[in-house]
Amino acid sequence: MKFFTKFIFILLIFSLVISFQANYPTNASVTAVENDTFFVPMRAGETNKVSFEFKNTSKMQSKIYMKFIQKVLPKDDEEKWFAGSCYIDLHPTQEIDIVDMVIRPGQKTLIPICFGQIKKLP
């Protein structure tokens, strides 16, 4: 009976460890990419480019994906803004959510993002 209780206890601990590992990466390098925040003052009528660094801290070569997950725009002003990738000399007239580039393990790359305010003319 004592042995059975011990066995159940060890099994419980083991399953808890497994479920924890499933949710949280145990290898620190997996989440070593830094989050960042920028203040971007911009001239009226001009495009502004801000670059941030992204490092592949995993052990595999991969494509980079990016998407806007939050936009808080001034009221009555939504249509005037754009933000998007300005990679490989693309003119960002619309928001783009993919950086179609491959990054090697350990490689750092600068990802430029463009911001602007535009007005559609008839």
Partner: protein, 176 residues
């Protein structure tokens, strides 16, 4: 699509949050936040040792002229605060100087070789600085370049004429 310098919304902050990750390893990701604000451009001209400055061509008089110490340009705090249009606060107890522009806050301390940058509610970083703010003749002077560039401005210094030119916001070098 046409570009225009009219009818854009000035002085309103837009916030964009971007998620970047690897397609083969989604856990390998970064969250990057941008606070973007469109501002009327300013050109600030001042000369070391001269009380007269120009902001967009208009003459402004400084309480005390800019000076150079250890190779760094120092300017009166009130002047640089008014030039950038930011709020300035001074805590005499802690000798802390704060400059606030929209969501960006720069904190300095008299004689302390570090500064703190806060953006929005979640971002706070401390950086070492070579030239801390100083008190001189009961006036507070701050290092011009570190303050200006922390706001995102462009600073050009002509050693021959001792003329300092600040473009804020910086002139965009990106031409789509």
């Amino acid at each position: 699509m046409f570009w225009t310098n009219k009818e854009v919304a000035l002085n309103k902050v837009a916030k964009f949050v971007l998620e970047v990750y690897l397609t083969k390893d989604p856990a390998n990701k970064a969250i990057v936040t941008f606070y973007v604000v469109c501002l009327p451009p300013k050109e600030i001209l001042l000369t070391v040792g001269d009380k007269e400055a120009k902001i967009n061509g208009k003459i402004a008089i400084l309480d005390s002229p800019a000076f150079i110490s250890s190779g760094k340009n120092f300017v009166p705090l009130r002047f640089i605060g008014a030039s950038f249009g930011c709020q300035v606060s001074w805590d005499s107890k802690t000798q802390q100087i704060s400059l606030i522009l929209f969501v960006l806050e720069l904190d300095f301390w008299i004689g302390k070789k570090e500064m703190q940058t806060k953006i929005g509610s979640n971002y706070k970083r401390t950086y070492p600085i070579e030239a801390p703010p100083v008190l001189k003749s009961k006036r507070t002077f701050v290092p011009l370049r570190i303050v200006s560039e922390s706001f995102g401005a462009e600073v050009i210094y002509d050693q021959n004429t001792r003329l300092i030119t600040i473009h804020f916001p910086p002139i965009s070098k990106y031409k789509p």
